[in-house]
């Protein structure tokens, strides 16, 4: 039953609709018709640039009875990269005292190289970039898009031109103002680095990014894209905003000279590979009055080192740890454990271009040997959700529920498929990298496949060797690669799956998929995206270019007296609201 709207509400709603673009009105229509939940309405609304005040009003005015979620706690902006109600809770020693005092001591994974906006491709580096720098938008753990350095944005009606309005009064650590030319310079200079796949995914050509004035930047895309604001978000972690002058003398690692940015921390000291310390940005554009004064980061290569430091009270938090590495703390009464569901997943890919995996029945057979819930319970201590051999995570708004049916372990069916394919027993390499539980996953896949006569030879390599020599190369092989969390599935659906995708380790070529993805990426409304996602999920589940056995939760450990840390599945760490009890 719908509540009767007051004349005032109706009048304001009509005014909002008159001003709204066709796409915004479409999203309001979907919500008013009960096609999307309140949470999805907020998410979609933020993506197309609707303000929180408008979203909050419409969400209440058009509420339907099936709505159970609330706006409060879902999104807050307050000047920082946004924190959400569901992100890491908390808990440590450190300096106690009132909010705004003290030193936070965090154990973080060692950066894989020089901290550099262009080359960063790992959690260790992006977590540090996010301390001193910021993005136009922030993709939070609830899949909301939070305005940060961009105050608002809107697309044209065809979704191929997006205009961003920059926040005014923002300055860098050196006091210079942030202007549109800085933004254009960033997106011109990171295009050839690690972010290249994002440019490909979203159809961005640096030549088509222009500053309309000091406060407005316009992106013209090669093709329509309804999720484009994620391209300029923290999901594209290379896109940290730095002064245009930074690029004049840019060289690999030159960012470490000053760590220029607009973030809540300024660099104090850096000891490469060991530790870094930061002090509070006293001239921050937002309200960071409650922020502690200092941040000390202890870097670790081995999670056991972080666990020891935590047990000895030398750190207040480990913002991200694996379930296996953090096992000693997961059940400890002296640690507060918080976890968030994420879209991070492992892709167990097959080389579909050569025997035996060029026959989809063989790929389906391998997928049928896995007991996914047992993998989650055993390898992830339960911190994960089951995957169904496509990368559209069940919490993405565009996910099509129950399409297709969940693939479960069925050895009889697997053997039948292998018999039908006529491959008999065979051997094949299964190559992967040293990362979290992936080596164990490889061994369990090996053990599972051996039950139907498949002899997989597991090779585990350091990430450099794996990505250089094995990832896209070996014919007739299987492999496992990690994909970090994203706020939308576009990257997962483009680079690893399109026929000409740069990360297509499966060497899978499927024109029907290419066409479906093009439609999906340019679909303006959630209904259409969900319908297309259903077709894509079914196609990928049937073709199995790769297995997605599970999605991995993000685990944060804190000392009991430390709270307020917010993390994302991508690995960003927001400490603006951190406090000691």
């Amino acid at each position: 039953m719908r509540a009767k709207k007051s004349p005032f509400v109706r009048e304001r709603l009509d005014a909002i609709r008159r001003k709204a673009s066709p796409i915004e009105n479409h999203i309001i229509d979907e919500y008013a018709a009960g096609k999307i939940t309140r949470r999805d309405f907020i998410r979609r609304g933020t993506i197309v640039g609707m303000s929180f005040s408008v979203l909050g009003f419409v969400a209440t005015a058009c509420a339907t009875d099936d709505v159970t979620t609330t706006l409060g706690g879902a999104v807050t902006t307050a000047g920082g990269p946004g924190t959400t109600g569901a992100t890491g809770t908390t808990g440590a020693t450190g300096t106690t005292g009132a909010a705004g005092a003290g030193t936070i001591r965090a154990a973080m994974i060692t950066p894989a190289g020089a901290i550099d906006p262009v080359l960063t491709n790992d959690e260790g580096r992006l977590a540090i970039l996010g301390q001193t720098g910021q993005y136009l938008t922030f993709s939070d753990a609830e899949l909301n898009l939070i305005p940060v350095l961009a105050e608002s944005w809107e697309p044209n009606d065809t979704l191929d031109v997006w205009t961003f309005h920059l926040r005014q009064g923002v300055t860098y650590h050196d006091g210079s103002p942030m202007v549109a030319a800085d933004v254009v310079a960033v997106f011109n200079n990171i295009a050839e680095g690690n972010a290249a796949s994002a440019y490909e995914t979203f159809g961005v050509d640096p030549a088509n990014i222009v500053a309309l004035d000091d406060a407005t930047v316009e992106f013209t895309l090669a093709r329509p894209n309804g999720s484009f604001p994620f391209f300029v978000s923290s999901d594209n972690y290379n896109a940290i905003i730095v002064p245009a002058s930074f690029w004049d003398g840019y060289a690999e690692g030159s960012y470490e000279a000053e760590f220029p940015g607009t973030g809540i921390w300024q660099i104090e000291n850096l000891e490469q590979g060991v530790s870094a310390s930061f002090v509070k940005n006293q001239n921050y554009w937002g309200d960071n009055s409650a922020q502690p004064e200092r941040l000390e980061v202890l870097w670790y290569d081995d999670e056991a080192v972080a666990v020891s430091a935590f047990q000895e009270g030398r750190v207040d938090t480990i913002p991200h740890i694996s379930s296996s590495g953090g096992q000693a703390l997961l059940e400890s009464p002296d640690a507060t454990v918080a976890s968030i569901s994420t879209a991070q997943h492992r892709q167990v890919y097959f080389d579909t271009s050569a025997p035996p995996f060029n026959d989809k029945r063989v790929r389906q057979a391998v997928a049928l040997t896995l007991n996914r819930q047992v993998l989650i319970d055993g390898l992830l201590a339960g911190y994960g959700t089951v995957g169904n051999d496509h990368p559209i995570w069940s919490l993405f708004p565009m996910y099509s529920p129950d399409t297709p049916a969940q693939r479960d372990e069925d050895l009889t069916a697997a053997q039948g498929l292998l018999d039908a394919a006529g491959v008999g027993s065979f051997s094949a390499p299964l190559d992967t990298l040293q990362f979290a539980e992936v080596e164990d996953l490889a061994q369990l896949i090996q053990a599972s496949a051996s039950q139907v006569g498949i002899d997989l030879q597991v090779g585990v390599y350091d990430s450099g060797t794996y990505y250089n020599d094995y990832w896209l190369a070996a014919a007739g092989s299987m492999g496992i690669v990690n994909y970090g969390h994203r706020g939308v599935p576009n990257v997962y659906m483009a680079a690893p799956l399109l026929s000409d995708g740069t990360w297509n380790a499966s060497h899978w070529v499927n024109e029907a998929y290419d066409d479906l993805y093009a439609q999906f990426a340019s679909a303006p409304d959630l209904d259409t995206q969900r319908q297309l996602a259903g077709e894509i999920q079914t196609l990928l589940n049937d073709e199995v270019p790769f297995i997605v056995p599970y999605y991995v939760d993000h685990i944060t450990i804190t000392q009991p007296n430390f709270s307020g840390i917010a993390v994302t599945g991508m690995g960003h760490v927001d400490l603006i609201n951190a406090t000691f009890a």
Partner: protein
């Protein structure tokens, strides 16, 4: 020391029977030899018949990951590892991996090292000078570092580990054999063979080799102990061994992170296995060395 004697085809090694008996007597009376040999034999038996005596499949098929990291119990006397595999079964089966690889690598190193040592020692002069300096340079690099570099270049696999350790041992053994050959080549039987204008290779491998055999045997047993340790060090560092294969060094590497959580059994028992085998091989090597002195 073995004495050369003349035979129809030239000088042949004819170790006097009494000398062999004396050596065997020394070994037989050596308690350390018997302790070491017994332990080695036990591990060899497990290496050969491990599949028949392990209580569970060492490879953990089917996977029992839900029973991971269980403490020692009646069902699993040494507990289970991070994938729910029986630690006892993997420790017993692990003997095959280390003994096979270490033995093969030592044999390879001994063959190459002996050949090189014979040539360098016999040729003398500039050949000896050049090759000896190359060998010295090679030996100046720490063994495990050399192994890691080579395996990184060759690609990690079991055959690679054998080849790399064999090649790393080659100069070490070559230096020892060269020193023995330098002594031998001064002896009359070598001079006589040279006067007869015997083929150089014939002199090396038929005349001199038998007379330095004792040195080679001692060196072989000593190197075997080092090879075991090197194989396990490389596997601990993640070089060369497929992760599912039961391997003591790898087992320790895979589980050392759990020590902070009080999970000690997947680390302690492979470590004890390593200690027992290395100590046993060294006891045998010491005993043989003493018998040949």
């Amino acid at each position: 020391m073995a004495q050369p004697s003349h035979s129809a085809g030239g000088f042949r090694l004819t170790i006097p029977q009494a000398t062999r008996s004396q050596r065997w007597q020394v070994l037989r009376r050596s308690a350390t030899f018997w302790v070491g040999a017994t332990i080695v034999v036990i591990w060899v038996v497990f290496a050969i018949f491990g599949d028949f005596v392990t209580p569970f499949d060492p490879l953990g098929t089917p996977a029992d990951v839900l029973n991971r990291l269980e403490a020692p119990s009646g069902e699993h006397p040494l507990g289970t590892d991070e994938l729910g595999r029986d630690v006892l079964s993997r420790v017993l089966a692990g003997a095959r991996q280390v003994l096979t690889v270490a033995l093969a690598a030592t044999v390879l190193g001994t063959i190459f090292g002996t050949a090189l040592g014979l040539v360098v020692g016999y040729a003398g002069g500039i050949v000896d000078e050049i090759l000896s300096r190359i060998l010295d340079a090679f030996l100046s690099i720490p063994l495990v570092i050399t192994g890691m570099l080579a395996l990184t270049a060759l690609g990690p696999n079991t055959l690679g580990v054998i080849v790399v350790i064999g090649l790393v041992f080659t100069p070490i053994i070559a230096k020892t054999v060269r020193a023995a050959v330098l002594s031998e080549r001064q002896l009359d039987y070598v001079t006589a063979a040279q006067l007869r204008r015997d083929n150089g290779l014939y002199v090396l491998f038929v005349e001199i080799l038998p007379n330095v055999a004792n040195v080679i045997i001692v060196e072989f047993t000593v190197r075997l102990g080092y090879a075991i340790f090197t194989v396990l060090a490389l596997s601990f560092l993640g070089f060369g061994i497929e992760p599912s294969i039961p391997d003591w060094g790898l087992m320790i590497a895979q589980h050392r992170g759990y020590l902070t959580g009080g999970i000690w059994w997947p680390v302690l028992f492979p470590a004890l296995a390593i200690a027992s085998l290395v100590v046993a091989v060294n006891l045998v090597a010491d005993s043989i060395s003493q018998a040949f002195e």
